[in-house]
């Protein structure tokens, strides 16, 4: 608990400003709205579960958060700094504080698992500028890569290539790569999509573990209500090394439901389940979506 509290203090954005803040953000692909007047803010240690039908703008929301897609209007702030309007080269530093798991994994086919996980350590400018006075040594990189892969229980895959792993294993490597730099904000795009229920639960447990060990702010896109339920009601206990019921900490997890680029619901799990909106109801029931 003390460790978490300390981590929370460290992770807080400058001046106590939100880790992520969207102010009236809109974006359209041609005539089709992907984001329509989205506004929200989240603090360090909080979790947002984003639900919604395919094509409702969930992935776009995630990509605009780190400037991979530029909005047509509105403002996005990460750790108190405005992301919108920045050049690509000016975004590298701030992206160094964010870990992302892409829907397709985003692992580099031509690199081994070890090289994939080491990639952010060797390439993210912010790390070299802030955490390290110079690029990390080979020994340091190897230690962090091994630590990260052992976190997802895949340290035996160091020299393999992504194509040699199963879908669930690739997703776990993606998590290892996302957490290797100990980022303050984690973004997960459909981490359990296409996986069997057992592997999906393993992935959610790893996400919970990553969140609670470092008290990182987390945005998770998912089609499965169960994923959100686990994130809202369970926590990782570092003492016992087990996932346990969360108790009061569920207050820090809020659910979003998106439809055609709009945020049609924002609230707690209880409010989600009590919603009378037929569209929201589709995502707010166990076994839904």
């Amino acid at each position: 608990m003390i460790a978490n509290a300390l981590a929370a203090t460290e992770n807080a954005a400058p001046g106590g400003s939100p880790v992520v803040q969207f102010t009236d953000v809109s974006l359209a692909y041609g005539e089709i709205p992907a984001l329509a007047h989205i506004s929200f803010a989240m603090q360090a240690g909080e979790t947002r579960i984003v639900l919604g039908a395919a094509g409702s703008g969930k992935t776009t929301l995630l990509k605009t958060t780190v400037g991979l897609v530029a909005p047509d209007s509105g403002h996005i702030y990460l750790f108190g700094e405005e992301v919108t309007g920045r050049k690509e080269s000016q975004l590298f530093d701030i992206r160094g504080k964010v870990g992302i798991l892409f829907q397709e994994g985003g692992l580099f086919d031509s690199l081994t698992i070890a090289e994939n996980v080491a990639y952010p350590l060797l390439n993210q400018h912010a790390l070299h500028g802030d955490t390290y006075s110079h690029p990390p040594s080979d020994e340091e990189v190897e230690r962090l890569v091994r630590e990260s892969l052992s976190f997802v229980e895949l340290e035996h895959t160091l020299d393999k290539f992504p194509s040699e792993l199963s879908g669930g294993m690739r997703r776990r490597v993606g998590i290892a790569r996302a957490v290797v730099t100990a980022p303050q904000l984690m973004l997960y795009d459909s981490p359990t999509a296409g996986l069997d229920p057992i592997t999906a639960n393993t992935i959610i447990n790893l996400i919970l573990k990553g969140r609670d060990l470092r008290n990182a702010a987390t945005i998770m896109i998912t089609h499965r209500y169960q994923d959100g339920h686990l994130m809202a009601n369970f926590r990782y206990n570092p003492s016992s090394g087990k996932i346990e019921p969360a108790g009061s900490s569920q207050l820090t997890t809020r659910f979003f439901v998106m439809r055609e680029g709009r945020l049609v619901f924002e609230g707690s799990e209880t409010e989600l389940r009590a919603s009378t909106d037929p569209y929201v109801q589709k995502f707010g029931r166990p076994g839904s979506a």
Binding site: L68, G105, G106
Partner: protein
């Protein structure tokens, strides 16, 4: 209502503008990508390993096919020209004809078309697959400029390697021509090689090396442009690959047609 109030000529004008909007937009994006790729040549970080890997993939990988086609094009040309030249009793000039045709035009164009078919498609499909599997987004998210990491090394490698491949194709074409002149026309080797060498001027060598250099830039950038802008999953990768080969091949002929009037009129 508004459209119906417009005169027919205005409606036609609007439709014409709409028709050209997409190609102009594509060309503009292509120029932006090219500008960034060139600017990155002088900017750190420099991915030397990637440049060497690409040189190997493009240069060593294309060496056999370029050599083969170069050899046979010289061989076939010598055979065809021998018949025409014999009409005028000018078979002794076979070396000159093969040499000028290969060095000025056929060598650069054939080698570039082969490399376009082999490598523009390879580049577009590789980068396109990276695009649809979110590897390019991941690269950006993990602190790397994809143009610096993927486009600039391919541009440099192609610009270095294609002129070298062209020299090899030219030489093997001359060897092919020599085989025909020696076996079918009974022309002495010294006569063939002397005439083939002496006819060449700096003008010929300049265009013979400038052309593949320019073609290389076009092939690399077109392949990268279509690869990086792939959308629509695996079908999109297929479309990008086809477009990359077609567009780069067309540009090879357009550029050579634009350059030839300049070089032909040189003293």
């Amino acid at each position: 209502m508004v459209a119906s109030a417009l005169p027919k000529s205005a409606i036609l004008g609007v439709r014409l503008l709409d028709f050209f909007k997409k190609p102009v937009e594509t060309f503009q994006e292509f120029l932006f990508l090219s500008g960034r790729a060139f600017r990155n040549i002088v900017r750190a970080p420099h991915y030397v390993d990637d440049i060497l890997l690409q040189m190997d993939a493009i240069g060593v990988g294309s060496l056999f096919i370029v050599s083969l086609i170069g050899f046979f094009s010289g061989l076939v040309m010598a055979m065809q020209m021998a018949r025409a030249l014999s009409t005028y009793g000018a078979q002794g000039q076979i070396g000159q004809i093969v040499s000028i045709t290969l060095v000025r035009e056929l060598g650069p164009v054939l080698a570039s078309l082969l490399v376009a078919g082999r490598n523009a498609s390879g580049i577009a499909s590789e980068l396109g697959s990276m695009r649809v599997t979110e590897q390019i987004d991941a690269m950006r998210a993990l602190g790397t400029d994809p143009i610096q990491k993927l486009v600039t090394p391919r541009l440099i490698a192609m610009a270095v390697v294609l002129p070298l491949l062209t020299i090899i194709a030219d030489f093997l074409g001359l060897v092919g021509g020599y085989l025909i002149s020696a076996t079918m026309l009974n022309i002495a080797g010294s006569q063939y090689w002397t005439s083939a060498w002496q006819i060449l001027e700096y003008n010929d060598l300049t265009q013979g090396l400038l052309k593949p250099f320019l073609f290389a830039i076009v092939i690399a950038l077109v392949g990268c442009y279509y690869g990086i802008n792939t959308s629509g999953g695996t079908q999109g990768v297929g479309r990008s690959t086809t477009k990359a080969v077609v567009v780069s091949s067309v540009w090879i002929f357009v550029i050579t047609a634009m350059l030839d009037p300049f070089f032909v009129n040189l003293p």
